[in-house]
């Protein structure tokens, strides 16, 4: 058992524990939202989608995707395989989180805005990132050489991050709005304490989910790389 394989095993264990805890947390937040959080007078029960949609969006757009791009940028400088392995793991989790945002967004939009899809700033940004991430995974799958794969996906990651402000500008220009101050400010300007508590616990759980998923995915990749090294050694 090489040190890498041992480290992979411990990471996977920690990842599983974190993931299970986070899933339980997520269930708790959903229960909290349904039972112990007041129904918003104008939007009704559908408004409670907010407590799952917004945390996933915030963690995806402000944690998962930036970490993916930043790990790539660091890789270009340090060429450390661990950074590339983390970037790939974080990119996979980012795709799942963006998927959830894109799935729950329209379900929330239909009752509130009357349409399944709106070019709202946050949703549009998430859609762009989803396509960028699909491109990222397609590129990684298409390149066999580990060095090329790591460098190319890092370059795409950095390019993608620089594209984000231009996506904001496009949405602003496309809808002719005055620029929205922060794309991710919760739609309700000030939440009453009972709602804010649920939202914050939603953030905490979404972050825990990201942590669990990325640790687990990183551990799996480390185990695969260690196994490959053992064969090739």
């Amino acid at each position: 058992m090489t040190p890498d394989a041992a480290r992979a095993r411990s990471l996977m264990t920690r990842g599983v524990v974190l993931t299970v805890l986070a899933l339980i947390g997520q269930a708790a937040v959903m229960l909290l939202a349904i039972q112990f959080t007041p129904v918003e007078a104008r939007q009704g029960m559908a408004q409670k989608i907010f407590y799952v949609h917004v945390p996933a969006a915030v963690i995806a757009l402000w944690v998962a995707v930036p970490l993916t791009a930043f790990a790539g940028l660091l890789y270009l400088w340090l060429h450390d395989p661990r950074l590339d392995r983390f970037a790939a793991a974080s990119a996979e989790v980012s795709t799942v989180l963006c998927g959830i945002v894109l799935a729950t967004g329209p379900i929330w939009g239909k009752p509130i805005w009357g349409t399944w899809w709106t070019w709202d700033g946050r949703l549009t940004l998430t859609l762009f990132l989803f396509f960028l991430l699909l491109g990222y995974h397609t590129l990684r799958a298409a390149i066999r050489d580990p060095g090329d794969r790591a460098r190319f996906s890092a370059v795409l990651g950095v390019m993608g991050l620089v594209l984000v402000p231009f996506i904001h500008l496009s949405v602003y220009l496309w809808r002719g709005l005055h620029p929205q101050p922060v794309v991710l400010k919760p739609s309700a300007p000030s939440l009453p304490p009972e709602m804010l508590r649920t939202l914050l616990s939603g953030f905490a759980v979404a972050f825990l989910l990201y942590l669990g998923f990325v640790t687990l995915r990183y551990g799996i990749q480390l185990a695969r790389d260690a196994r490959e090294a053992a064969h090739a050694g």
């Binding site: 349904i34 918003e40 007078a41 989910l209």
Partner: protein, 59 residues
């Protein structure tokens, strides 16, 4: 026109300024259930795929 005196149910809090005529919140809980089911499904399926891949590595 006789003012509508029914008050919104106790546990609802009007976020925005209450409309001139307070009314019952729309009955759209179904959307919430759908969104929660979809989100839960995606989280669970992904977690399961990770755990299965991890177990495959440990053998």
């Amino acid at each position: 026109m006789q003012a509508d005196t029914t008050r919104a149910p106790a546990d609802t809090v009007a976020l925005t300024a209450p409309a001139e005529v307070p009314f019952m919140p729309p009955h759209n809980g179904g959307y919430m259930v759908a969104a929660y089911v979809v989100a839960a499904a995606v989280y669970l399926v992904y977690a399961a795929s990770l755990i299965l891949r991890a177990r495959a590595e440990r053998r």
